[in-house]
């Protein structure tokens, strides 16, 4: 029998999943991603013998971009909506801690993302089959890494939504951090081209979420095997960074005055 705390978290997660699948924006984004993937079939025809690569490239990029948009916009609104609709107050009057509520919200959206990523993955494999190409299982490693990055984005969105005074601000902060994290190698090499001291660029490099870690697209597209060690390190990085972010979110949410 599950512990009462765990069952409360699962209940919030299930509710969040139900709620997020009702979001119209979600369907639009997934549909757009699938349309983008299938449009690669047309683009592939215009290239010289690059149809398979274009389907894979565009498919993975679509999962990455649209997954990030879902994580960002749905993630930022998760807690804010509950506060604005005042539906949070009766929930917190029940035997449900803010930490349990937060983790439940995170798990709920993570599951929503998992379902969406799975749908988009089916879209990519479908497009490959339509192009007369086999379903390349190497892509799954890249998609797994993308999913880890999306979980990080959800964590950041939750963190900023508990911290920021408005949804716009939370969206901007999360977006900025996600973009900065994608430029982590540029941040690290900053001291080579600017007068930024080395310690500052190094600190920023380790502080920012390193989204480059989650980019295995080139390896997957070229059928290069990814070592289990690397996958384990990436997973460990996501887990560690995520636990820090969720802890920060919990602290901010715990201290937040709900009036």
């Amino acid at each position: 029998m599950a512990a009462p705390g765990l069952s409360r978290v699962v209940a919030v997660a299930a509710n969040t999943f139900r709620e997020s699948v009702r979001e119209r924006v979600l369907y639009n984004l997934v549909l757009f991603a699938v349309v983008m993937t299938f449009s690669s079939l047309v683009l592939g025809e215009l290239s010289i013998r690059q149809d398979e690569k274009i389907v894979k490239d565009l498919g993975l990029a679509s999962i990455d971009v649209f997954g990030t948009l879902i994580a960002l916009f749905v993630g930022v609104g998760l807690i804010r909506k509950e506060i604005e609709r005042r539906s949070l107050y009766p929930l917190l009057c029940k035997p449900l801690s803010r930490g349990e509520f937060l983790i439940g919200k995170f798990l709920g959206l993570s599951f929503t993302l998992l379902v969406n990523v799975a749908l988009m993955t089916l879209g990519v494999f479908g497009a490959l089959l339509l192009a007369g190409r086999p379903a390349d299982l190497h892509l799954l490693t890249a998609i797994y890494a993308i999913y880890l990055g999306l979980l990080l984005t959800v964590g950041l969105a939750l963190f900023f939504s508990t911290l920021a005074s408005s949804q716009l601000l939370a969206t901007l902060w999360t977006f900025s951090l996600v973009v900065a994290g994608r430029f982590s190698d540029v941040v690290r090499n900053m001291q080579q081209v600017t007068s930024v001291p080395r310690w500052l660029s190094e600190t920023l490099y380790y502080l920012l979420p390193n989204y480059r870690n989650f980019d295995l697209k080139a390896r997957a597209v070229y059928g290069e095997a990814v070592s289990p060690d690397l996958l384990a390190w990436i997973t460990a990085y996501a887990a560690l960074y995520l636990s820090a972010v969720l802890f920060g979110a919990h602290q901010a949410f715990r201290r937040r005055e709900l009036s």
Partner: protein, 289 residues
């Protein structure tokens, strides 16, 4: 009211198309370069799209193919000013995109107006490909063929092929024998060998191009055989034959109406006593006159 609005949509759509065409006409040429390249520094562009380099490489490759196709097929006076930059951007964004090096080098090196007529640029693109993909024997093979055909340097071509055999375990054994043939100096036999391998191992346009060149070599062999027969006839009779029929009747050749591999008949010019490829033949080029 709703029907009226729906009816209005038709002229509005037509007007939008018309106005867009006028704008395109106004901007033709002026904004072409800007639209095509976006940015002409490949490295800077790569830094702008972390995580999405492959997709952007695909887009630039499509642009390269379209640019080359539109210039070579539809432009009476083709210009290939942006071709090199487009290929550079594509291969910088995705250094493993072998086809971009291979086709890009062909687009750049083929003689004008079919290509840009820049064999040196084509060689540099292939060398960049070899540096980025040292384990690809195909790129080294293309570079060797490039040295042979476009740079007219069989010694360097042989050297590249031997390097391929030495450094790439998967490189096929025939690269070694081909390198030896380059050094023997029989250009047509070496060329035939190269195109045969291109035909057997290549796909798509590369395979079609190899087939074309093999047919050209066959046609040149037939032409040269007739020219040699005419030379013998001339030596025996003190004049060239009046027709290829006379040449055949005299027993110098079997066929009085030879055809090239595409089925086009050869042309005999009795005035100068030379057999030539027909200008209507798909294989004809002025250099084969």
């Amino acid at each position: 009211m709703r029907r009226l609005l729906a009816l209005l949509l038709v002229p509005i759509t037509a007007a939008v198309v018309y106005v867009q065409r006028r704008i395109d006409a106004e901007l033709a040429g002026f904004a072409a370069r800007e639209r095509l390249l976006f940015a002409d520094s490949p490295d800077r562009l790569r830094q702008l799209v972390p995580g999405f380099e492959l997709v952007l490489a695909d887009i630039y490759w499509l642009r390269t193919v379209q640019y080359y196709g539109s210039e070579s097929l539809f432009n009476a006076e083709p210009r290939y000013d942006e071709l090199r930059t487009l290929i550079e951007i594509t291969t910088t964004l995705d250094p493993r995109l072998e086809l971009a090096y291979r086709y890009g080098a062909v687009f750049l090196s083929e003689g004008f107006p079919i290509g840009a007529g820049q064999p040196e640029a084509g060689k540099e693109i292939l060398e960049k490909g070899v540096r980025a993909n040292p384990d690809s024997w195909r790129l080294r093979w293309d570079l060797g063929a490039h040295w042979f055909f476009f740079m007219k340097n069989p010694k360097q071509a042989a050297d590249v092929l031997r390097q391929a055999r030495k450094h790439v375990p998967s490189a096929p054994f025939w690269l070694e024998s081909l390198a030896a043939r380059f050094l023997e100096g029989d250009d047509r036999s070496s060329a035939r060998e190269i195109w045969r391998h291109q035909y057997e191992t290549g796909e798509g346009v590369i395979r079609e191009n190899a087939l074309y060149n093999l047919q050209v070599l066959d046609a040149l062999d037939i032409r040269d055989a007739y020219r040699a027969a005419i030379a013998r006839f001339r030596a025996a009779h003190g004049r060239p034959p009046e027709s290829l029929g006379e040449l055949a009747q005299a027993g110098y050749v079997r066929d009085a109406a030879p055809r090239d591999p595409t089925g086009a008949p050869f042309v005999y010019d009795a005035a100068d006593g030379r057999v030539k490829m027909a200008r209507t033949s798909r294989l004809w080029r002025s250099k084969y006159e």
